[in-house]
């Protein structure tokens, strides 16, 4: 059945809202037709992952919309860019390389987007609420919004997220619709020892395992220990969306659309069941490291996805306890609003003595920030460990945040926790 546009859509397509809206609607309509959506629906927010520079075409697209006087029609946050505009001195690109990257971020602001430049828009004032229809880009944000909050978005990406923002519309399709949010594959966790159960690594490992095995099916996790906070769900979702194409997971008794198994599966039977035991978790985490214990550490990278206020509050006392002084930089990516509040309150005072380098607006695996690429980089992020070797060519060791700090203090990969 061809795509049905309503009167507003058609008016937009015909240029009644200006040439930029018309162009965005033309692309959105063609995309929606291509995926077989019957119609479009209203969205209340957007998060645009368009500020990473992939070449001139990225910039030409936004420049044209801006030159046409385009404005987003719903509150729209921006994902990370290729530069840290708060700490420009951190970026190891020459001015010719920086110019189009800076312009790309600025052109999005000219369209009326909020200069949040964070991959964790759910940590900002623009966090959606349960049941809200939104159009979000950035894989970790998408899976968090759908799973932990119960807002509704498909896995939007380059260009199309901005087209949704410019039109306030999205295809009535996929995860926007209740029937498509039904769990289909069951992951059953069993055999965990209580003392190990709730470490951050567990959530990363479960994310990796469901990401690798769920395929196109929505995963339901049974037996997940109650997370300490939503940051552990963030880590799980980010790992799942890195290892696979997960846009929504349900954790029974934890996430809002899964109060029990029956509701997670909408009363139907799972199409497949996968058991997860301690051995699977340990193996998944081992596979994230491609450097041996004891190897010299060049840097620690935390905050992928961006560190929340709560993570900082947990991290800073640990930093002062471990008091690393081996000259290993500890990069922590975070949102500019989170960072500004911490600095205003003086909570970061003196932390640079221990090597802390706060990074805003971007992330250490998508641009040239790291001073050294020759040693091992240690991280507590499944997503960073998954992408950094390919993106920036480093060797990675994965560990808990305590392992990362112990390694920073020792100058080599050191583990004080174990899976």
């Amino acid at each position: 059945m061809p795509l049905q546009l309503n009167a507003l859509d058609t008016a937009m397509l015909n240029g009644d809202f200006g040439p930029a809206a018309a162009s965005a609607m033309a692309i959105l309509a063609a995309f929606s037709e291509a995926i077989g959506a019957p119609s479009l629906l209203d969205i209340s927010r957007a998060h645009v992952d368009g500020c990473l520079y992939h070449g001139q075409a990225s910039l030409d697209f936004v420049e044209r919309l801006a030159a046409q006087g385009g404005r987003v029609r719903v509150p729209t946050t921006l994902n990370v860019g290729s530069l840290d505009l708060i700490h420009p001195e951190l970026i190891r690109l020459d001015s010719a390389q920086q110019a189009p990257r800076r312009r790309l971020m600025q052109a999005h602001e000219e369209l009326g987007c909020v200069p949040s430049f964070t991959c964790a828009p759910y940590q900002t004032l623009f966090r959606p609420s349960f049941g809200e229809q939104i159009a979000w880009g950035e894989s970790n944000a998408i899976v968090f919004a759908n799973s932990a909050i119960g807002a509704r978005t498909n896995r939007y990406g380059d260009f199309i997220d901005l087209c949704c923002a410019m039109t306030g519309r999205a295809p009535a399709w996929g995860l926007h619709l209740s029937e498509n949010r039904r769990g289909r594959i069951l992951f059953r966790i069993a055999g965990l020892k209580d003392s190990r159960a709730a470490t951050d690594g567990l959530y990363v490992a479960v994310g990796l395992l469901i990401g690798a095995q769920a395929g196109e099916m929505i995963p339901v996790i049974e037996g997940l220990p109650p997370p300490r906070d939503e940051d552990q769900l963030k880590a799980l979702g980010a790992a799942a969306a890195s290892a696979g194409a997960v846009g929504l997971f349900h954790a029974v008794g934890i996430t809002p659309e899964a109060p029990n198994l029956a509701e997670a599966f909408h009363g139907k039977a799972p199409e497949a069941t996968v058991a997860i035991g301690p051995g699977d978790i340990a193996q998944a985490l081992r596979q994230l490291s491609n450097a041996p214990d004891g190897a010299p550490v060049a840097a620690i990278c935390l905050g992928t996805p961006h560190f929340s206020r709560r993570e900082w509050e947990r991290f800073l006392p640990l930093l002062r306890d471990f008091a690393p002084r081996a000259g290993v930089p500890i990069y922590v990516n975070t949102g500019r609003a989170t960072l500004a509040a911490l600095e205003a309150e003086g909570l970061l005072d003196g932390a640079n003595e221990y090597g802390l380098v706060a990074v805003a607006d971007t992330c250490t695996y998508v641009t040239a920030i790291l001073a050294r690429l020759d040693g091992v980089v240690m991280t507590n992020s499944g997503k960073w460990a998954h992408y950094a070797p390919g993106n920036i060519g480093v060797r990675v060791a994965f560990g808990e945040i305590e392992d990362c700090l112990a390694s920073a203090a020792a100058g080599r990969v050191t583990r004080v926790s174990s899976w």
Binding site: G157, F159, I160
Partner: protein
């Protein structure tokens, strides 16, 4: 042989097939300067997609592939067309944006891809609304049917 497919981005194209053994993510998988496949974990790493009729089961990976495809189209190192076994919205958006911005068309067709081999000569034409005809010939003979000059898009 002639095979019928569905256009996700309409247009005419002709070229030599490059049939990939596995789905390819353009982001991290294709060099935008040259069209070379650079994903070292991909079985066809080292091949070049530029000007070929790229045939694969589906797309894969990051939505940033939309930008990378659009950029290869802008630079003239994109495939002449992309033939997929199943629809891929990410590649569709990349080709649509390049058409909007630059008027350059990289048709995207979904159809059965079994029996198509690298080296086959393929000609793609529109035969109805969203309907593509793929004329597939061996490398040493012209594709069946007479070549018809068409404007792209």
């Amino acid at each position: 042989m002639v095979r019928t497919g569905r256009f996700f981005v309409e247009g005419a194209a002709e070229g030599i097939a490059l049939v990939l053994a596995a789905p390819l993510s353009f982001w991290g998988g294709v060099a935008v300067e040259s069209g070379e496949i650079i994903d070292r974990s991909h079985p066809d790493c080292g091949q070049n997609v530029a000007g070929r009729i790229l045939v694969m089961a589906g797309g894969r990976g990051s939505s940033s592939s939309s930008s990378v495809l659009a950029e290869t189209i802008r630079r003239g190192v994109a495939p002449a067309a992309i033939v997929l076994g199943r629809p891929d919205p990410i590649l569709t958006v990349g080709a649509l944006v390049a058409r909007e911005l630059y008027g350059l068309v990289c048709p995207i067709v979904v159809c059965a891809i079994d029996g198509v081999a690298s080296g086959d000569r393929i000609r793609i034409e529109a035969v109805g609304a969203d309907i593509a005809a793929l004329h597939i010939g061996n490398p040493f003979s012209p594709p069946c049917g007479e070549k018809v000059a068409r404007s792209a898009g």
